[in-house]
């Protein structure tokens, strides 16, 4: 009889997730015992503290780890890739809190929104360090289920419910595919740990393995809204409460892409020619589809959703090339990208609260002059999405294209270029609306200035700072990214 071996539990490595879970527990339970007036503030404060704690913990871990190792019986991996991603995720969550704080119409002061937010971040932090198919699946479901609920949390609005249900149906469909793929990979190798899969996959008999790989790719591509698996994205982004969209658009991408990178390099290094090319093709489709569809959008959130699809294309380029430079490019790209996404949705949220209705592009007219700070921030985000300095995303694109060129896939970089040119139309459409269109003011009936919202403004300012800061401080950040991917085994 085998003896019971208690696995070695690396509490330090789990600390970010644990801090978030603790925060989630606090926000779930404590407000019930607090007076109604302070619940909201308390929850937000605790959530922020938990996110900061998680971020700091991850940062400390990052500083201490110089190579990766499996923890808790190799279920997770403690390495800088995960820790860097965790910092970015915590940051996105933190920004999202600023956006959420004044969101009207939420359940009165009960902390469950923040519970879900923390849980989602926790799930993602878990997910990015997943080191086996099982933890991958569980982490995915963890944060997905949190997100399903968050999307639908504005239960008054049919749009929110619709978004939630759509996300749930398509998401579960994707999860089921991912699960079946995992099963096939397990069947092909007999292993669920990533490294073990790589070791066991050496054989020449690969049919089940590649079928499983295909299904895993589809499941992950779905999560990062790469075309043609992106179709949930516009509906869900548009229907979900804007702060949720802000968070989801940034964090899901970070988590999904980092894990994709980890899975493919760690477990499927032997199948490199399959996934590199197919991801490149998916990237191209995303670039084309996202940009084209965005051209004709009128709703700003939907426009940004399609932009997110196109950026999935950009972000898949560095993964597809499968080189260390690509890894660096991905991690660096994600930093300004996450901030810009949260920031731009935050501004949409602010406008939405001001107008008390969904924001269309023409609703932005005159905003640049009336709300100068939001205007400038939004303009910088839009210019940044195009890839103009001084947004860090410019360097992100530079790195992504560099990775493609270095790999010898100049054509991929050129596809990216063409897509960027197309994207100019709609990003500048937003800027044009804010500054150029005659400012027939259409404020909320109350008129005048909108309610002060320092939390949201802080979030926007922070996003802006990250967006611009990543440009100027690119050197150190890229060093971080390099450390993050140092021990991945890139096929090229």
């Amino acid at each position: 009889m085998e003896t019971f071996v208690k696995p070695d539990i690396d509490w330090a490595a789990l600390s970010p997730v644990l801090v978030l879970l603790g925060g989630a527990a606090l926000t779930m339970l404590v407000p019930l015992f607090l007076p109604v007036g302070v619940r909201r503030g308390f929850s937000a404060f605790v959530a922020a503290a938990a996110l900061i704690g998680a971020g700091v913990a991850a940062a400390i871990l990052f500083a201490h780890d110089d190579s990766g190792r499996g923890i808790v019986a190799d279920a997770l991996r403690r390495d800088r890739l995960a820790e860097l991603a965790q910092v970015i995720l915590a940051g996105s969550g933190l920004l999202a809190i600023g956006v959420s704080y004044r969101e009207p119409g939420r359940r009165e002061g009960i902390g469950d929104y923040y519970t879900l937010l923390l849980s989602a971040v926790g799930g993602m932090c878990f997910f990015v360090s997943a080191n086996s198919l099982m933890t991958l699946f569980l982490g995915l479901e963890w944060f997905s289920i949190s997100l399903y609920i968050m999307c639908a949390i504005a239960v008054d609005r049919l749009g929110s419910l619709e978004a939630g249900l759509k996300y749930l149906i398509v998401g579960s469909f994707g999860s089921a595919i991912l699960l079946f793929g995992s099963a096939l990979v397990y069947g092909a190798t007999g292993e669920i740990g990533f490294e073990a899969i790589e070791r066991a996959a050496a054989g020449d008999d690969r049919f089940l393995l590649v079928t499983g790989l295909a299904m895993l790719l589809v499941g992950l591509a779905f999560k990062v809204s790469a075309a043609p698996f992106h179709m949930w994205t516009p509906d869900v982004y548009q229907g979900a409460p804007t702060p949720v969209t802000a968070f989801m658009s940034a964090a899901t991408k970070v988590a999904g892409l980092v894990l994709t990178l980890r899975l493919l390099t760690t477990a499927f290094g032997s199948q490199e020619e399959l996934w590199t090319l197919s991801l490149a093709v998916i990237a191209c489709i995303s670039l084309a589809w996202g940009n084209l569809a965005a051209l004709v959008q009128t709703d700003v959130k939907r426009l940004l959703a399609y932009s997110s699809v196109s950026h999935a294309g950009f972000l898949l380029i560095p993964i597809a090339v499968g080189t260390p430079l690509g890894g660096r490019a991905l991690l660096y790209y994600l930093m300004p990208y996450a901030a810009m996404n949260v920031g731009s949705f935050a501004i949409v949220a602010a406008r939405e609260r001001e107008l008390a209705r969904p924001v269309t592009v023409s609703d932005l007219s005159g905003m640049g002059w009336e709300r100068p700070f939001h205007g400038i921030a939004m303009a910088i985000f839009m210019f940044g999405f195009i890839g103009l300095p001084p947004a860090g995303l410019f360097l992100g694109k530079f790195y992504a294209f560099s990775a493609a060129v270095e790999r010898g896939w100049t054509w991929l970089a050129i596809v990216g270029v063409v897509a960027t040119v197309v994207s100019i139309y709609y990003y500048l459409g937003v800027v044009r609306a804010m500054y150029v269109s005659p400012g027939e003011l259409r404020l909320a009936p109350a008129g005048g200035s909108p309610p002060r919202d320092p939390a949201l403004t802080t979030a926007v300012a922070a996003s802006l700072a990250v967006t611009v800061g990543t440009f100027f401080a690119a050197g150190p950040l890229i060093d971080l990214a390099r450390d993050g991917v140092e021990f991945l085994r890139f096929p090229f």
Partner: protein
């Protein structure tokens, strides 16, 4: 001497700057005086140069020069801000600044009271500066600079009264025709820089025979380019049409200023670069031929013109034709001599015409004039002097200089003889049209128009206008004595160090040719007298008999029409066509069209997002199916 040369060049420029900067603060009159003074300073400086040069040995007179600073550079290729002080340039400086001074003085009186008098004087000073730059420049590039700026000044002067549509058009035409000349000139310079490596006179003339070769295509191209510039500037056929139009310009003075000085620049250029022309004898002869053709054509057209200034303008063309014949045949001294005398009597004629126009309150149509001799006796006399000089009647200046040219031509074989023939026929025409003008304007009974409009002034105009005319009249009478063919050759000798004439006509030939030409001139004058000097129907009969000839001459032998058909209309059509069929559809609308197509596609793509969640799942499933098939197939 160098200082004097620089002062000569700079003083009109200073005047321009002062007048421009002072603006309203300077009285109008003062502007004119300032300009005239500047010209005077230039003239004095020229005289100083002359005196200094005279003090030197003839062979040592060439080659003086001075450089202020490098004007333009490219690697080893350097162009200095050079002036050259040698007999040729001093000769031209004297003519330009001397006649220029007289003209500017005259203008002070003529322009008195015009609203924009200051601007006018500034333009004139600018003109003088440009002209001096042209003749003083020590290298071909600065010569071209002066060349172009002269064109610019003439443009400014021609459309001085810019409300007039015709003046504006004439100004543009003059400038653009000259620009054509500038362009060919510049092309010649490109060849020179490529093969000679420098543009200063000394180096170019020194190295050219070796670098370009004698009689080679290269030399021919260089000479052709320079000739193009010269032809355009000197209004020779076929680039002549701007000059008569320029007479549409508002003031006779401005007309004068280029008639008397600027148009002779071509002659100067050929004389200056004779080394290059001599390397390409065919082209030099071409210059002479063009000159000969111009003599005849311009003389013919002048016969039917009705604008007093136009007649004189055509005569200018014709006279410059003589000069071209001269320099084209290598008789540089003769050509330049005629240049000088022509400056005197042509200026005289224009000034006298100016007094007439002034007196008639701006009227220029000779058909409305008549019998002015009594009203303006001194003017009549001055005009007569000018006309006699122009018609080359001894002992007036024109006789000696024109005769020198004809004599040289007579010595040049077949080509020379044909040119001589043209020149002699030109002499006949000159006599005819000159005296036609004289008789119509000054003789006969005063017309109604004259009686109505003539306002007699004290001494036929202000003193400022009168005295330069008088000076010029004197010069027209005695200027010809400077050089008498077969007797002495002051001009030839003077410029010999720079441009030694290759021809020396024997005295007998010279005499014969002079007599023949004189005879023809007298015939012309007689004919003019018989047609216009007394009542008669000669002209009308001739017109009835050869209506086509009259029309052809009145249409100026269709040169303008030809240019319209050959150049202007096609280029305008081309531009319009490009705009309509290339620029708009291809470049301006291209992106719009592409954008439309993309947007259409985008609409289709977005329409795929039906809102049906099952379709989203279907997309997922389809994508999965495709990827799996591909993966399996590849594996």
């Amino acid at each position: 001497m160098d200082v004097a040369a620089w002062i000569c060049l700079a003083s009109p420029a200073v005047a321009v700057v002062l007048i421009a900067l002072a603006g309203d603060r300077m009285p109008r009159f003062a502007a004119g005086v300032l300009a005239a003074l500047a010209a005077l300073v230039s003239f004095i400086a020229s005289v100083i140069c002359l005196i200094v040069l005279l003090g030197e040995e003839p062979e040592g007179r060439a080659g003086h020069g001075s450089t202020l600073w490098t004007w333009l550079s490219a690697g080893d290729f350097r162009i200095g801000l050079d002036v050259v002080v040698d007999p040729l340039s001093v000769f031209m400086m004297l003519v330009v600044s001397g006649v220029g001074f007289l003209i500017l003085s005259y203008a002070v009186g003529y322009m008195r009271g015009d609203v924009e008098e200051r601007r006018y004087h500034a333009y004139k000073a600018l003109f003088l500066f440009s002209m001096l730059l042209l003749v003083q420049s020590g290298n071909l590039l600065l010569l071209l600079a002066g060349w172009g700026m002269v064109g610019l000044s003439s443009y400014l002067l021609i459309n001085f009264w810019h409300q007039r549509e015709t003046a504006v058009a004439a100004g543009k035409k003059a400038f653009i025709m000259n620009a054509v000349g500038d362009a060919t000139f510049a092309l010649a310079l490109f060849i020179l820089t490529q093969h000679v490596g420098a543009l200063d006179f000394a180096t170019v003339f020194d190295r050219a025979p070796e670098a370009l070769g004698d009689g080679t295509t290269l030399s021919a191209l260089v000479a052709l380019g320079l000739l193009g510039g010269a032809v355009a500037k000197s209004a020779q056929i076929p680039l002549h049409t701007w000059l008569p139009d320029a007479m549409e310009g508002p003031t006779p003075v401005s007309a004068l200023i280029h008639a008397a000085t600027m148009v002779t620049a071509g002659v100067y250029l050929i004389a200056r670069t004779h080394t290059l022309f001599e390397l390409a004898p065919d082209i030099q002869h071409l210059a002479a031929i063009l000159g000969g053709v111009t003599i005849v054509v311009a003389g013919l057209i002048a016969l039917v013109q009705t604008d007093i200034k136009r007649v004189i303008a055509y005569s200018t063309m014709s006279q410059i034709g003589y000069m071209f014949v001269g320099v084209g045949l290598g008789a540089y001294g003769a050509g330049l001599f005629h240049l000088m005398t022509h400056a005197f009597f042509k200026a005289l004629l224009f000034m006298a015409a100016g007094i007439v126009i002034h007196a008639l309150a701006g009227e220029q149509d000779i058909r409305k004039m008549g019998g002015l001799g009594r009203a303006l006796p001194w003017t009549y006399r001055f005009f007569l002097v000018g006309a006699l000089a122009l018609a080359a009647i001894p002992p007036f200046a024109g006789f000696f200089s024109k005769d020198a040219i004809l004599a040289s031509a007579a010595n040049e074989g077949t080509l020379g003889w044909s040119l001589w023939g043209a020149g002699a026929f030109g002499a006949f025409l000159t006599g005819l049209y000159t005296f036609r003008l004289l008789f119509i304007v000054f003789r006969g009974e005063p017309s109604g128009f004259v009686r109505e409009h003539l306002h007699r002034e004290q001494f036929e105009g202000p003193f400022a206008m009168a005295w330069p005319v008088a000076v010029l009249a004197v010069l027209s009478v005695i200027g010809g004595l400077l050089q008498i063919p077969g007797v002495w050759h002051a001009v030839d000798d003077w410029i010999h160090p720079v441009a030694g004439s290759i021809e020396e006509a024997p005295g007998s030939t010279a005499l014969l040719s002079a007599l023949a030409a004189l005879g023809l001139s007298l015939v012309g004058i007689w004919l003019a007298w018989s047609f216009y000097g007394r009542p008669g129907y000669g002209p009308a009969r001739a017109r009835r008999r050869w209506p086509w000839a009259a029309t052809a001459l009145e249409r100026k032998l269709y040169f303008d029409d030809a240019y319209d058909v050959v150049f202007y209309t096609p280029s305008t059509r081309l531009a319009t066509g490009l705009e309509r069929f290339v620029e708009r559809p291809l470049f301006l609308r291209s992106l719009t069209g592409l954008g439309g197509a993309v947007r259409l596609l985008a609409g289709r793509v977005a329409a795929a997002q039906t809102g049906l969640v099952r379709s989203y799942a279907l997309a997922l499933a389809t994508g999965l199916a495709v990827i799996t098939i591909v993966f399996l197939a590849v594996t």
